[in-house]
Symmetry: C2
Subunit: 193 residues, 2 copies
DNA sequence: GGGTGCATGTAATGGGTTACATGATTCT
DNA sequence: AGAATCATGTAACCCATTACATGCACCC
């Protein structure tokens, strides 16, 4: 048997320990809270929920509201909790790095410095927005649930993201300064030529 | 027609601006230099080189050494350079986050604190090794080629990795302290119970 | 003789996103 | 009337890793 490398199903299982949710809710929760460390699309969520239900790791209840479309709410079973705990104990496999922005900067000598500057500026803008979101999440989602047993772990995870974004922004500043110096030098050389 | 979102081919094109290389060389170079920001397996490299050659973006030369197996050395063409420059100008698409270690920490309340501690320690160990590698790369690959037009960009990219690893290590320290405190508290509660 | 490194490639498999299909309700 | 949001799901496609196949040279 081949080892399953995917953690999509386990991520869903984990989220369902917080509270029972529908596929739609799961997507919403991911976007709002763990979007920066984990992503999951509907095309993964729905089939996985079906499989989890078939394996008895989650239980599906159909919430029929008159007029409205049926909602399928899933809750984790004891068996599901056990499976989750097993997976949690396994060492995490490291991410495969695929940072397109860095790669483009790496080949920056092939294009005008302005191109690289634009890449770094765009990235800084995005990361500034993400940092703001983290701060909001910490205030609104975590500080609100001080007594919740999950809260300390949520805070640690968010802190990771915050620190990372802050250092990226520092790097961006440094790098932009360097790139602008390079651009000036190049313009000077161009005029002299 | 559907737009190709993959940047694998362009990454190879970029590497071939440094010098002509074989598929094997490319893999080796990736591992040694840009492995932390980009990864590419043989299963991607060889088919992509074939396609690039068919499109006239690279040129293949067979290097037949007597006795030894043939080496296929690829060099980038002017057309290839033009294509690379086009791609470099395009905004980079952000990474899809999939940090399994963070995800597991996020669900840390479901398991003993020791499990989370082990995750963070393992990660710190790995990142310490990567940081060392970055420092080595900076010394051995970049400082050696001061006058190379690519050098400033290489340095910026490596610096990104260094800063990131350093901040992760700082986070790991902080987090381990927090986790150990949690573990102690939990043991205390367990004894009282 | 067997392991390791150089070297090229393909096939199987799996993982994941995007686009599509459907449809009700609510807001503008 | 039409856009946005809630809501569920499937199919097509693409991307990427892994395992496998092959084979020479060199060293122990």
């Amino acid at each position: 048997m081949r080892q399953r490398t995917s953690s999509s199903a386990q991520a869903l299982l984990g989220l369902l320990t917080i509270e029972p949710m529908s596929g739609y809710d799961l997507r919403q929760t991911i976007e709002a809270s763990i979007g920066h460390m984990w992503n999951e699309s509907y095309g993964q969520i729905y089939p996985n929920l079906r499989r989890l239900a078939a394996a008895g790791l989650v239980q599906r209840k159909t919430d029929a509201k008159k007029g409205k479309r049926d909602r399928h709410v899933y809750s984790i079973t004891r068996k599901g909790r056990a499976r989750l705990a097993e997976w949690l104990a396994l060492p995490a496999q490291p991410e495969v790095p695929r940072n397109e922005m860095l790669l483009k900067l790496f080949f920056g000598a092939q294009v005008a410095p302005e191109v690289s500057i634009a890449h770094v500026e765009r990235m800084a803008e995005q990361h500034r927005a993400v940092l703001d979101k983290f701060k909001r999440v910490e205030r609104e989602e975590i500080d609100q649930h001080q007594q919740h047993p999950d809260a300390p772990f949520w805070r640690m995870a968010v802190r990771y993201g915050q620190m990372e974004m802050e250092i990226h922004l520092r790097w961006a500043e440094e790098t932009l300064a360097g790139l602008r110096k390079l651009a000036k030098k190049k313009r000077g050389a161009g005029l002299r030529a």
